[in-house]
Symmetry: C2
């Protein structure tokens, strides 16, 4: 069994240099939604990988470029890291206590946009590689990096890129872009992601808004059409009313339920953090709440817009109305199925006038919690975090993991530097330095235990 | 029978002076919604009335001041003119072909914000008075003016002002702020206005928006709550579902139906002008459409707002949602009744969480189409317009006429300078000079025939 003292010492002693490298990366406002700093971000990531002896390629995707890098190692196994160099917009700027594009250290935390999501995860992995190269002079296995630049806008071009580069990207295991501890400081293994099908529903009933006194009794109203159409999608019982919607839904396995039952209670934390006073379907908490949270398909109205929305009153009959709706998909549901059934349902209910625009998405993706690589990663965490890693078999969010699973056919694990207070996507995003070191220590162990 | 040749000649010969006076009034941006130019507008109206020998008072209301004026006449009958000096905002400015606050003459039309609604109506009445004073040296009856400054924001303070000043405002008959010809150039007598009860419905389900991947399956969603609540208000059959909502609705009388049946067809014009391809409840046109248009209570969604409304997708579960809703009221419905029944209905349907904010309104108001004053005004139009005036017993819009009817107990007629292309509330608002003279000629006849 490997003794990690030298590696851990390296990480402690060279922390400042790695933080300086991370800070330089955070200085680039690589915001995909605003199309800024993307080429610059990709170039710097490429330089950082090349400095570790990786062969680097900056590859076009149709959107932001992908940084691809590989370095041979001692064994012929291959581990693929997935990260992204794009970040969320920094706005609203006035809510930041220090400038979002100047990484600032306060109370053991580094503050900057993207410092946690996902630049800190990326540099902590490079930091771990530094420690291994310093001690061993070589990597324990082949290592590849796929660092994309569109994660924050839905990885628009990534599935196609992966499908077109399966040989280049071929690997045995994958470490996902995020990971970290929960509110108890317990390391968490998040294994699956729900899919998503995001649509905009819109309707137009006239060529212009009309005075409501003139048209209220006789003209079709786009806002009413939208309300009635939406009402047919989901009832107050939270059951999605689209015929056949649940046909392919895979329920959680006994193993899923067992793993979820071992997770800490979330009900009180949610109520406090988000100011909700109850949960849907009468669920009050416990395992039931957490199964419902991730194993049920959703139909969420993300936005509604129609007519006059300013202060006071305006007596207008709106000609247009639209809604943004996301369907979170559980295993075995497909985008195509959702879109087809949605269109058929609206037509059958008399809403041929409601247009459906697909805004992006992909299916759910899962890794078997009993995959040996999962167990290896879980075991490797114990020494670092001083407590066992817990397996969360599925999270409610979405990401491009399904494309990795489909085209590269490998288990995907999470391991990283995050914590619940990191403020990803929010002002004052930050990363704890203690968790940065731990994250790198964990990556060292994963590489060494897996590669050798 | 009076011969009007001298009066009519005066109006033709002095048109330039009256247009100059109107242009000066249009130069004041008296926009109630933007709280600009209101005191200045009231002052100029007061000066214009004083110049005709009226006793003028500028009276506070809690909002924009009311200009009140009176001048004694030959008989002891009293005629009250209702007008307003406030106008709609001029925005969007880029759509104007000439500056909105500089009255500009093109092709026999004067263009300016408020030139038709309602400053042109007001000065055409002063112009008519000039003609009578020039010829007769006195007015045929007592004349009062009530010129308010909040008509375009719902006459917020007017009903209270009228209730508090019934003695001062006492009159036998009233000429309303608007009037004119339809698309056939036929003079129209619009007699009644629907009431309105404007509310904002809102709901808040959490203290902050939540990532839809986290909360979609377990957190209440404000947008869904709003959709479901709205859906209980009105169904696709257009029937308002609030219990007892139709209890006090007065149907049109046989006389109403007879008058409406004599009106020209509107179906094709509406389809062309507004780009609608059908009318509600399967109605295709004719008398049925026009009765439905004004004698049915409405529940119109004027606006919807919730969550993310920008381009692309954002996976957010909205904490707040709101809708602007106007209920047009037909005779015998009251504001209090609507608000009480709406609250009771939402509560009974399980929507105690939906807040109702009353944004303003008032009941419907009607004048008997067979009132002798209506007949006098109709007859007086024939000579001016070369064709008989048609009586439209009710229009779909709303205004403060109910307060006049309730507190002053007098018949209210319309007479004025408008036409369908006037663009009231729109860019390039305009007034036809030929109709300005005709409107003044009509007012001369109304005053003379009524007063003597």
């Amino acid at each position: 069994m490997t003794v990690y003292k030298d590696y851990d010492n390296y990480l402690t002693e060279h922390l400042d240099a790695s933080i300086a490298e991370l800070s330089a990366l955070c200085a680039i406002p690589s915001v995909a939604a605003q199309n800024t700093g993307l080429d610059e971000g990709a170039a710097l990531v490429g330089e950082m990988l090349a400095a570790r002896g990786f062969e680097v390629e900056i590859l076009p995707t149709g959107g932001s470029p992908v940084v691809y890098a590989e370095r041979k190692g001692k064994s012929d196994k291959t581990l693929l890291f997935y990260n992204h160099y794009d970040v969320q917009p920094a706005e609203p700027l006035e809510l930041w206590d220090s400038p979002p594009w100047e990484a600032t250290l306060r109370d053991g935390k580094l503050y900057a946009r993207g410092v946690s999501d996902d630049k800190g995860h990326l540099t902590s992995r490079l930091f771990a590689i530094d420690a291994i190269l310093e001690a061993d002079g070589e990597l324990p296995c082949n290592v590849k990096f796929l660092v994309e630049g569109e994660e924050e806008i839905g990885s628009v071009h990534l599935p196609e890129f992966i499908a077109a580069n399966t040989e280049k990207l071929a690997a045995d295991v994958c470490v996902w872009e995020f990971g970290g501890v929960d509110h108890r400081e317990a390391p968490m293994q998040h294994l699956g992601l729900r899919g998503i099908c995001y649509v905009e529903l819109s309707v137009e009933t006239a060529s212009t808004d009309v005075h409501s006194g003139l048209g209220g009794s006789i003209f079709p109203n786009a806002a009413w059409r939208l309300v009635w159409a939406l009402n047919t999608l989901k009832g107050e019982d939270e059951r999605i009313r689209i015929p056949g919607y649940y046909d392919n839904v895979a329920p959680p396995t006994e193993r899923d339920i067992e793993l979820i039952a071992a997770l800490p209670e979330v009900a009180d934390e949610y109520k406090q953090r988000y100011g909700v006073d109850h949960f849907l379907k009468g669920t009050t908490g416990g395992t039931e709440l957490q199964i419902q949270q991730v194993f049920e398909p959703t139909c969420t109205i993300c936005g509604l817009t129609s007519g006059y929305q300013g202060p006071g009153s305006k007596t207008v009959l709106p000609a247009k109305a639209s809604a943004k709706v996301d369907f979170r998909l559980v295993p075995n549901q497909t985008i195509e199925e959702v879109l087809t059934k949605l269109r058929a349902h609206l037509d059958a209910e008399g809403f041929e006038d409601i247009q459906i625009e697909f805004m992006g998405g992909g299916p759910a993706g899962r890794t078997d919690p009993d995959d040996p690589f999962v167990q290896l990663v879980v075991d490797a965490a114990t020494e670092v975090y001083g407590m066992p890693m817990q397996i969360d078999p599925m999270v409610g969010g979405s990401g491009p993991n399904a494309a990795f699973l489909q085209y590269l056919k490998l288990p995907i694990v999470s391991a990283g530097v995050g914590y619940p207070g990191a403020g990803a996507h929010a002002p004052n995003e930050n990363m704890r330095l203690d968790l940065y070191v731990k994250g790198a220590q964990h990556i060292v162990r994963i590489l060494k235990e897996y590669g050798e």
